[in-house]
Amino acid sequence: MGFIDSFKQNFIEADRWKYLWDGLLTTLEITGAAVLLGLFLGFIIAIVRCTYLKTGKMKLANILCRIYLTVIRGTPVVVQLLIIYFVVFASVNISKTFVAIIAFGINSGAYVAEIVRGGIMSIDNGQIEAGRSLGLNYRQTMTYIIMPQALKTVLPALANECIVLLKETSVAGYIAIADLTKGGDIIRSQTFSPFLPLLSVAAIYLVMVMFLTFLVGKLERRLSANDRR
């Protein structure tokens, strides 16, 4: 079968391209929402951990955070996805996309937390001392002095975490979510020609990742230009 025929069969006939398009939208939806959830969780955890490391307060919360980090970073995301789907939300009739967002968000949160913690800890202690010596309390020092600086240093790493997450969501098909990868699988199961569906799925991911990488590079240049002001 020639390339044109194969192309027609895999994408044009029965509007099969729609599987890819809808899958792409699902992938983007899950990734986007999970990134937000991950950032939210990650920042909270990082702040708890740093508060403990810097002041010795929030001991219990710190222990809980450490357990969370160990467990999430110690198990594969697909196992986490299955557990959240089959065990945590066992008897709740909940949208699978929502389950995926929760699972990937919780997973990403652990990695975001370590990135942000690294960023906060990289800020010279003298900054905290300067803030406190002016009479600002811990929270004010964190909010106005430490976090703005930390945020700037971790922004590229956080953006990279988004890229990682985009790729990770490709296992969403494990709970029968019709994401981009699954979209290709559906076409494949109907046409039995693995070549085009798989390669086009790969190409779509590649284009997205390259585009995001390009943006991250731009962001980094922008940030380092700012440093020279």
Partner: protein
Amino acid sequence: MIDVKGLKKSFGEIDVLKGIDEHIEKGEKVVIIGPSGSGKSTFLRCLNLMEKPTAGEILFEGKDITKLHEKEIDRVRQRMGMVFQHFNLFPHLTIRKNITLAPVKLGLMTKEEADVKAEELLKRVGLPDKADEYPTRLSGGQKQRIAIARALAMNPEVILFDEPTSALDPEMVGEVLELMKQLADAGMTMVVVTHEMGFAREVASRVLFMADGYVMEQNTPKEFFENPQNPRLKEFLSKVLV
């Protein structure tokens, strides 16, 4: 103004301050000298409770501040400025913002009042045209002058200086010491850790020598430098006055 009684501070096993009794009057300019590691910084940092003393009392205007709650400590710190060796300016904020951040966020001034104050202070430290620059654009000497302006913005009753000129290139030491002299002349209470013996001689109302966690000797600058008693001090002076 500040009364220190039996102040001790240990880090784990290491006893850094082993018992310090000291009284600082309003308007005094106390200069502290001593070898590296003798606990000068630690003493200074205990005064505004950046370090929690292990034992002893620190009375600030008659009140023992070592017993206070976090919130009250924050309020005490507002009245004690501190200037650091490495300036510790906020690199993400303009000079103006560096100066106005604390008074505004603490609700002591409106943004407008603080901006006026900042302008006035920048004139005083000789950098009126730098308000909208970022700290990275300044030389070391300029940075330290801004750090002093930042401390002054809180209208503190005393300023603690921890080796304010040690991180500066030699040609910039002068401008900072000059500014500190002006402050002294204007009647500010100052506690200064420094290795600048010239400054101590000229400006100090009293010089302390710290070693091994104790204040070993103290005197007026004249007596202190011309007639040292303690053998450790004599040795120290013989080295630094070459």
